[in-house]
Symmetry: C3
Subunit: 139 residues, 3 copies
């Protein structure tokens, strides 16, 4: 049994889902692990992770719209306002989605379903450099 750990960067330009499936799968395929477990961890509190349909881009647009409506900006009862009107909604949207996800590795590749892609879900308007940790266990 062996393990490997790395960090990847994602540059975001405003709210949206940024697919990282290919980058993650490429790193996994180079580790010499046939069967194992990949853990993906987002080191931020105002963006998150989600595994979603990667075929129709409208799914990602509708997903974004749903979270904009469910967790709106400028709620009168928000107290945390110092970092801008998009910061507290970003924290809540992060809590509703994922900070860490696991993907089994099979045959040296991510064992995703046919329509699944891995996304960084950016919840803030301004550009950010985001860091994701990858941890692989297997043999």
């Amino acid at each position: 049994m062996q393990q490997a750990q790395t960090e990847i960067s994602v540059s975001t330009q405003g709210q949206g889902l940024y697919e990282v499936t290919r980058d993650v799968d490429t790193w996994v395929s180079r580790q010499g692990v046939d069967t194992g477990l990949l853990t993906v961890f987002c080191r931020h509190t105002s963006c998150s992770l989600t595994i979603q349909e990667n075929a129709d881009p409208d799914v990602q647009r509708d997903m974004l719209e749903f979270f904009r409506r469910l967790v709106s900006e400028n709620e009168p009862w928000y107290r945390h306002r110092a970092e801008g009107p998009d910061d507290m909604p970003a924290h809540i949207r992060t809590a509703l989605t994922d900070v860490s996800v696991n993907i089994p590795v099979t045959g040296g590749r991510l064992g995703l379903g046919t329509w699944q892609g891995l996304y960084l879900f950016e919840h803030r308007h301004h550009p950010h450099h985001r860091k994701i940790t990858l941890h692989l266990l297997g043999q």
Copy 2:
């Protein structure tokens, strides 16, 4: 340290929570692992996983009702409609619940709390054959 990986199938007949605790626990108990970590991964984007109370069936009915109300069908702003009115809500409900969950293994069995059960959460109306990957690490 050793690992094992398998896939189980769940046949669903419409929206609802389908308990898989027993099937998963039986597989784990046969792997000869006393202490370890089980990862459960759902290979779909319109059904998901959740760990919930397994005592009162009303909990599962109320859970389903909550998600029907929170993420309704036929929102006028949905763009992704090609796969039916229940498909985009299914993607959103999946994002709000879990695609992967971890359960520690103790004494060769799932280390769930007294009232916890593992469920596949089907978000679509029509029958589906769903695939769940199990990955076990331990010794």
Copy 3:
């Protein structure tokens, strides 16, 4: 490769986010694992886990308020009422947040981002003794 498993207790006095980062990090730092994966598992169905901003306490207050509004008590359609008006909302809030989270371990410590803290999210009004399982894999 080695593993370790333990259980920690958290005493809660009503709804709120209870930070456990220090207790968990202390336990991890004593296991002699430099690089690895920590899994945190909540053995209950009416409290949950979340990784959130640990700088401004208003974030935790707003988070709590959001979930109180999104999943209100005393919805007329709740059927599960036997354990009190705060029990079914607690189950739903648990489904919307996390029962298990993973945190990579780097240099013998939790690999959290600068602003991330690990919280037990108590969803019930009365005091409870909560149990969290920690599982560490690494070397």
